[in-house]
Symmetry: C2
Subunit: 244 residues, 2 copies
Amino acid sequence: MKSAIPVTTIEIKTACSQCNLRELCLPFGLDPREVNQLDELVGSRRKIKRQQHLYRSGEAFEAIYAIRAGSFKTDVILEDGRDQVTGFQMTGEVLGLDGISSERHSCNAIALEDSEVCVIPFSRLEELSRQVESLQHQFHKIMSREIVRDHGVMMLLGSMRAEERLAAFLLNMSQRFTARGFSPSEFHLRMTRDEIGSYLGLKLETVSRAFSRFQEDGLVAVQQKHIRILDTPGLKKLLNHHAA
Amino acid sequence: MKSAIPVTTIEIKTACSQCNLRELCLPFGLDPREVNQLDELVGSRRKIKRQQHLYRSGEAFEAIYAIRAGSFKTDVILEDGRDQVTGFQMTGEVLGLDGISSERHSCNAIALEDSEVCVIPFSRLEELSRQVESLQHQFHKIMSREIVRDHGVMMLLGSMRAEERLAAFLLNMSQRFTARGFSPSEFHLRMTRDEIGSYLGLKLETVSRAFSRFQEDGLVAVQQKHIRILDTPGLKKLLNHHAA
DNA sequence: AAATCGTATTGATGTGGATCAAAGGGCTCC
DNA sequence: GGAGCCCTTTGATCCACATCAATACGATTT
């Protein structure tokens, strides 16, 4: 299939082997030869404009997606129109795992900003992970990590107060920005108060008030979507010092 | 390790190939030869008495567990003592998937009644699923199903009112009992009101009141842990007819 | 630079479920 | 088979967050 002409600069730049996200993504733990095998499998990239769907609930499942650039939210919608954001995904994270069980996507994935994903045909991923043990293991870890994350959100939704939820959210974002080489204390949120609220099981006004409260208490400096964390230990204390 | 004497009746009875749960469990979709390979991998069974832990958060992860008999709950506990039930598991369901990501269990699994599980050493499962495509696929489906289930719980915790949560819970239990050949409308809950409440993000008093309300409205007949569903459509209506 | 629209903040009021409290019922374990 | 204890139910009160409402801000368009 591959032509004999040399690969273009762009193709090189987008290969797993050249991708600076590989420590966070599917190639983690693979040796260079194995990463090259993965490269062949990642057929195409897809650009998704802000507010566009990467996939929709009910669509046939054929591939999972690794985020190369940008960010997404996933949500589920009930018949009566209520919806709930189930997660926010950043570069290097994998989207679409929910579709494996029924061969149909069970949520919507929507770009929070202009973004790009690597398309990983799932049957070929299963095929290759039968041959490459480290890939198989990394894939299992990624799925398991999603389960653990979900349990954390269930804890948050089931037993935390509004300010604790927002503190947990901010600390989580900080940690994920840090893992991507950005500042732990200063970042730009790509989602609205309403989307944060949906994720945290709160109304947007409650999210806004909690932000204001944190600002009053000197925990963070908030300017719309731009966040500066001033007192990380203070935020952590908010989480744990709750009388049982 | 195995002695040369013929396998006992009990050992035969507990093999996957003879297990009547195989349609719900890991062997689903495997041909008889493949199920035999799985049999060899399922090293041992473990009996867990009511209230005993199958595993605890923080323990090294080595195996996943398929429930042969009985039922379990899983929970996560915060430093300050707050805890949250993240799921109830019935026969044929798999426990321990949360441990893959960090090689340590991230929650506790506790038997709700005297129970028995099949121990599936994880590294051997990965090994065999590199050889047996249908096993690999079934395992991936099981993990994905857990993710989808978790998203449903997030929806429930984030956007439903108390009675809707309980209705969703009862319908889910009914469906799972049905899948196991039991009555869809009459069953015995193994967990307390407190545990249901923890799972649903409610206090036990609220769960109790919701049960009483359902009883008044003729939706269910409740006698302690014994539940008879009288009006399934009524319960379903409660879920969907919510003004957005 | 003005107009528009989505997003955010802040205030006033309402309410669903939490909390506090007490009594009754049914298991479990001697 | 009885004692004790945990579990459940029900009532009264409280409070955290939702809801309703108005304004302000900022980005985008023209």
